[in-house]
Structure formats: structure tokens, C-alpha cells
Symmetry: C2
Subunit: 285 residues, 2 copies
Amino acid sequence: MSAPLPIVRTVAQLRARVGAWRKAGHSIGFVPTMGALHEGHLSLIRLAMARADHVVASIFVNPTQFGPNEDFDTYPRDEARDAALLGGAGCHLLYAPEVAEMYPPGAFTTVTVSGVSEPLDGLARPGHFAGVATVVAKLLNQCAPDIAVFGEKDFQQLQVIRRLVQDLDIPVEIVGGPTARAEDGLALSSRNAYLTPEQRVIAPRLNGVLRETLARLSAGAAVEATEAWATAELLSAGFKSVDYIEARAPDTLARLGPGPAIGVIRVLAAARLGRTRLIDNIGNG
Amino acid sequence: MSAPLPIVRTVAQLRARVGAWRKAGHSIGFVPTMGALHEGHLSLIRLAMARADHVVASIFVNPTQFGPNEDFDTYPRDEARDAALLGGAGCHLLYAPEVAEMYPPGAFTTVTVSGVSEPLDGLARPGHFAGVATVVAKLLNQCAPDIAVFGEKDFQQLQVIRRLVQDLDIPVEIVGGPTARAEDGLALSSRNAYLTPEQRVIAPRLNGVLRETLARLSAGAAVEATEAWATAELLSAGFKSVDYIEARAPDTLARLGPGPAIGVIRVLAAARLGRTRLIDNIGNG
């Protein structure tokens, strides 16, 4: 049995721990999360451990990236379970700040990434990516790691963060971790816990339709017609609504088509099963 | 004769120099400027030298903080003269990036500070403080100094930067340097070079009226009536127009009055002499 995972809750405590490692000449890897950890998060921890001497994970359910009718209040929280999983994976430190530590009264600064944050979830979740960009800028400045690992499952978020770090010259390398999946293809997500058994049977079709969409596009099918087919396919599989299923250029998230797609393709989707919103994406490069 | 001041033009070169000092355990002070240096800037360099082992100055005339009808194109630029002044003051390194180094194609991230950036110059110069906040966030992340020194002459800018650094958890201490003045009270400014001899005679009244305004408010005069008196005084002294002359709370820049001011007061003014816009401010705490 290893020692329990140390937990810090303030920026000052975090900086003291990381500063001591830094002073000893060690490198630091950072994995920001919202908790409710699953195998996908743990794969990011292992990726960070392979690249850095010490790994810090953060758990912070960031209120500013949730819309007024979204699931901030009900988002699953179980710090003891999360800490045990992180410790078991070899993580060295958990940073779990309170909201008041992250957003003290009088905080008025917002980081906005235009372009890559505007389509897809930028349309479906107004303000979401400004909340993400601001909290990630804060977390990166608080921890000052050498590398920070984010999951490709939130592909648009990953590209927003890459843009943010490059544009603001934050001295960190952003590493994308592959999406962890259940055997039937469903992308692991903390929100999968919301699914009823019936919805859980339908859910993997999101990945299935994404793969069929990419295969059709790779074979030369027209983008707009294929997107329309994919939307219909998800609805007929039992999804209540489809926010989007679209082929985009991976770096800029610029629209492809309407005709056959040229170059590298990323297909991204968001669809609802009952009140649960699932996202997923796949690419060919 | 000392060795000429080393000049670097890229983020990579800047980080290599600063990183070597950091590795040796030395502290770094940073003085961002737009060049056209005068004794006010040099006093900031000396302040940084008293507080840090090595001092980096930057010269970058930042296009994103100028409005379309402002003086970006005509802003005075003389790098050789600036470098000589910096070297003479003991500065260790000049960072002078090109616009393409600071804003490569595809840069889309903006830092916005609401609240403190909204009144005064925030109204008079739309977009100005978003430009300032974004470039200062970049410069601080590029240089990663222990302290950064900004002049109190741009008092609202200083407060925007303090807010930005606190809100985004940028690990740097912001130090405000007192305003350097000519013997007649005129605040030193690169834009004073625009003044005709006749305007130069009128210009010190900006500081004179600020001082009389603060004296009246400190003696219990009503804020709004005093501001109206001060505006009239500047116009009758020969200023073409007055953008504002207002008493504000120093930290938040919240409006004081309309009655007598309570607590610490900062009086800020912007007024035009011909086509030249001058700003100044004074406080009692």
C-alpha cells in the first residue's frame, strides 16, 4: 500500500510543492480535470508520467464553463474516490481548489480565443470556451508545468487550449491524449454515468456513425450530403437530437466541403440521449 | 565605455538569456515600454535594478492598443537612441520583437479585463485596454520575470495590469513607478514631443489643475462640482477639449461623489492640446 496522495487546495501550496521539484531540476507534468475520473483520465496521467518526473492532477468543476441550464450542480463529485484512483495510477500531487480560491471577489479578467472556439460547441454552448480558456490559463500559470495533457475526446477544447497557449506564449507544451473507449466504442466520459441502461445500448452508435462518416469521406463522398446522412442515422438510432456531426480541418476547425473533403479530416459530433449530451470525434491524421 | 546593450528579437532568444540567469539562481526585473524613452522610463529601469539581479527592457509599439485614428504610424521610434539610454542606465538586455514575432498569422486570443478597464480611457479609447492586457500577458509569459515595473503615469493601465496578473495568476510582482515630471510639473511622456512651443507652455496646467482638484477634494469639496470646475479651468487654460478629469477610487477606479469624497482619492485626467492627447493623474494615498 503506497502513501496517500498529497492534496493541496491553494495556489501558494501548489507553488511551494512544484517549486521544490523545479528547484531540484525535475520536470513537471500536469493533468487538469473536473474529477469524476475514469480510465480515460488515468491514461492521461500515465502519458504525463512517461514524459515528466512529477505529475500533478487538478480537480476543479469550473462554474464559468457551464451554461445556466447545464449540469454544473449535478456534475458528479467524489474526491475520495478520485484521489484513490490518482494515487493508484502513480500521480504525485492532487490540486483541488475551492471556487473562492480560483475566483476571488473582484476577478474580472477573461481570456477569449476567437476562430477555433466559434463553431460546434462554441455555438451549442455560448460562453463555454471563454470559461475553459480562462480557467486553463489560470491553472497553467498556477502550476507552471513543463507539459500539460488534455484528452482528444474534447477535441475542440484541445485545439482552443493549443491556440491559447501559443497566442499568449504560455511556456508549456500541450500534449493530446487519445480517447479511451469502452469495448463497444463508446468514448469514456464522466457524463456516461447519466445514461439509463437503454440509452447505454444506443450510445455507442455515436462512435459507429462517426467511423462510418469518416470512411465515406475518405472514400470521396461529398461532405454536406454525408453529414446529412450521419445526422439522420443518429436520429434513427434513437438519439433525441443532434447538435452537430461535421467534418472539419483539425487545426483551424474550418468547415470542409460541401463537396469531397481534401486533406486531413476530423469529424466531430454532439448528440443528445434524453437529457444527456454526448460528444465524440475521430480523425484520419 | 561599457559594452553595447545586447538586443534580442525573438521569444526563443529572450528565453535563452533569461533562462541562463534563472538557472544561475538570479532574479529578473522587466520594464516593458513602447520606446521613445525619456527620464521617466529610465527611472523605472533604476527601480527594477534596485529590486532584481538582471533587468530586461522591451520596446514594442503594440499595434493592437492603438485605435484606427490614433498615432500608431507616427509614434516616435529611435531604437539606437533608446538602446544607448538603456545601456547607460545599466539595463542588461533589450527585447525588441517585430510585430510578426508578437502576432504570427492565426493568433486569435484576447485578454479582456472588465471593471477597472471600462471607464476613463476605456471609454475614450475603445479596445485600448484589451490590446494592452493581451500584449502585457504575452510579454510577461515570454520573459517570465520576478518583477515587472510600470509607470504610475499610466495609472489606469497599471491597475488593469495588476488586475490581469492577479486574475490570471501570472507569477510576477507588479511594481508601480512614480511619475517623472519636468520642473514645471508636466508629466514626462513620449507624446510631449508632439507639442508646439506654445502648447508646451500650456501643458503643465494639466498637472496644476490636477493638484488643485485634489486639494479641493481633500478639503471636502463636492466631487461633481469640483470636476466641473476643473474641466472649465483646463478649457480656459487653452486645452482644446477634456476627455475627462475625474476623482476615482484607486483600486477599482469606481466613481466617487457626487458629494465629498471619502477615503483615498486618485484624480485622473486626459485632455487635448491641438492634436496631442495628454494624460496625467495624482493621488493622496
